[in-house]
Symmetry: C2
Subunit: 350 residues, 2 copies
């Protein structure tokens, strides 16, 4: 690692509750507070109140899912991806965790005056490579421009519409005591890849983002015939926050076995050096899943046969309904509560 100064944000001290802080975009507790204080009181409706990463819409008996995400990642390029690829894959994944087949994506660009058109072309090409790789089209788009200093180069908001196949129900309320908890591969690669690019950090091995579209992995898992209860992609807030969200929705307790969680050496080393916990570092091409225990091996086998699930592991068990929370059995053998992320550990990683 070079001698760079590392600027990790510590936004909490200035919070008097009156203004937006970076932590409100973390995906963790502050984001949840903002949603509860500002968004839900005004916008409340059954679809939104579920606080899922997508909403189900019904049209003439057809089950659709609909999702949106703004992408403000900085820097625009990082090992393994860029703003364009993450904008496509991130939205596909928010459809995929419902088991949906993506029908089409939209893209809305907010450009800062003076942004180089060559860089824009590179990002748009990257979006198209990601979209073509996933077999999904960007079918509608919009472009706005703001004055210099009023944005940061480019922001891209993508939305997606997907079709949920008959018989598929991956509602996050469906986890049950006894179920197995799986993760599709090593965690934290994306967050560390972006942080390294942003801060100019060098490690012995370059950490490459896991940024990928997961809908074909989900289709393979469903095709295994195993009883899959629910899935989530652990982006902002990481695996810890994703599991807490599922535990909260299903009102179950989860026990996660820390030594079973796959973490690459480069991510582990970076996290130790930077004082980060990989369980809170974002992935952009991984999912966590809750599966009937009896079917766990069958679903894992289907995952292992897919390129994006070849390092899938069982990492825990749903074991009670005492309180909706997640417990971690650490490598030391102790057990502690694994809470949602507080504040903004890594701003602008997606």
């Amino acid at each position: 690692m070079s001698g760079t100064t590392i600027r990790l944000h510590c936004p909490l001290p200035s919070d008097d509750g009156s203004v937006v802080l970076l932590g409100h975009g973390s995906g963790g507790r502050m984001t949840a507070d903002l949603i509860r204080r500002i968004f839900l009181p005004a916008l409340s409706n059954p679809a939104l109140d579920r606080l899922n990463d997508n909403a189900e819409l019904r049209a003439s008996g057809v089950r659709l899912v609909f999702t949106t995400d703004a992408f403000v990642v900085s820097p625009l390029r990082f090992p393994g991806g860029d703003l364009g690829s993450i904008a496509v894959n991130g939205t596909i994944n928010d459809l995929a965790v419902s088991g949906a087949h993506p029908l089409g994506l939209s893209a809305a660009f907010i450009l800062e005056e003076g942004f180089p058109l060559d860089e824009l072309r590179t990002l748009v090409d990257s979006m198209q490579r990601a979209a073509r790789g996933a077999g999904v089209d960007i079918v509608t788009a919009d472009t706005k421009v703001v004055e210099r200093g009023k944005a940061d180069g480019v922001f891209i908001t993508t939305s997606g519409v997907g079709l949920v196949p008959d018989g598929v129900d991956l509602d996050p309320t469906r986890a049950q005591p006894g179920d197995a908890i799986l993760v599709s591969g090593p965690i934290g690669d994306h967050g560390i890849a972006v942080l390294s690019a942003r801060e100019g950090l060098r490690f012995d091995t370059t950490v490459v983002s896991d940024c990928a579209a997961l809908h074909t992995l989900v289709a393979a898992m469903l095709a295994s015939g195993g009883a899959i209860r629910c899935l989530r992609d652990p982006t902002r807030g990481g695996v810890a926050t994703a599991l807490n969200e599922l535990a909260g929705s299903s009102r179950v307790e989860m026990l996660i076995d820390e030594p079973a969680i796959p973490v690459r050496n480069g991510v582990r080393a970076a996290c130790e050096m930077l004082g980060l916990d990989p369980l809170y570092v974002a992935c952009e091409g991984r999912l966590v899943g809750v599966v009937a225990a009896a079917d766990a091996e069958r679903v894992l086998a289907a995952m292992h046969a897919h390129p994006l699930g070849s390092e899938a592991h069982r990492i825990g068990t749903v074991y009670g309904q005492a309180a909706p929370r997640v417990l971690l059995r650490t490598t030391l053998g102790t057990t502690r509560i694994l809470d949602v992320l507080s504040g903004a550990q890594l701003p602008r990683i997606c």
Copy 2:
């Protein structure tokens, strides 16, 4: 009018073709150039290539439309609306011009660190009032935060999904020689309202934005039974640009009668003072429509019976297929080509 200095943007001189300019967000010729140079070569697919304000998706025999728009209006509040109401109504209107029934909206917020939460609450409340008034829910949302100085308070991107009723086809290619051209009400109110708020201009009468959701007006027009060929909401680039887009898609010539175009006195006075042409000033609650001539009176009667169409007028005729263009017969009796907007007459009005 007060003695304020008026800062109208003139972005053309600095264009060496290498960077984004404000005019690229104008909705006029420069936006079209950007789309042709950057977006279409990469993203080309049949739905996007139509360059409509929405895309049709088919799912199990159901016809859906899907649309997205980023809203970067400055200032956040203006007479008759704010960023919240325009974000809801603008996206509903992009569904409405296909004759679609809106099924749900998404909202993605990009917030600048330090933005007052009270202001955010006001905008979200406004979104909900607009959504409730339109009978449409915001079913899914996302929030990102960027550092101070990296955005301008708040940007909102909304997307929408709508269901197209059986038998409805308002494809912009359907205008035919002989058809009548209608406008649903006075034009340019929105653009002048935003400009006045931004520049602190005062006129004898306050110009109030026409910002409104048009789907019930469109439903009333369809219910009249008249043969409606196509509709468009004249936002960025105004009525002139919207008509040029329809003329181009249908490959027809249009003749517009300038004295027939409804323009409020306040808008006319402001345009004269500022050197603007109301035909290029954005509306956010108006539509232009092409209708079979024999049915024009019937459709106009249905519009007049609706609060948002009470000042609808016939403004012109589709009269030939020589070349896709729009001609204007002026108040002086001369005829000239009415071109699309060049550059950025009024940046950040939506």
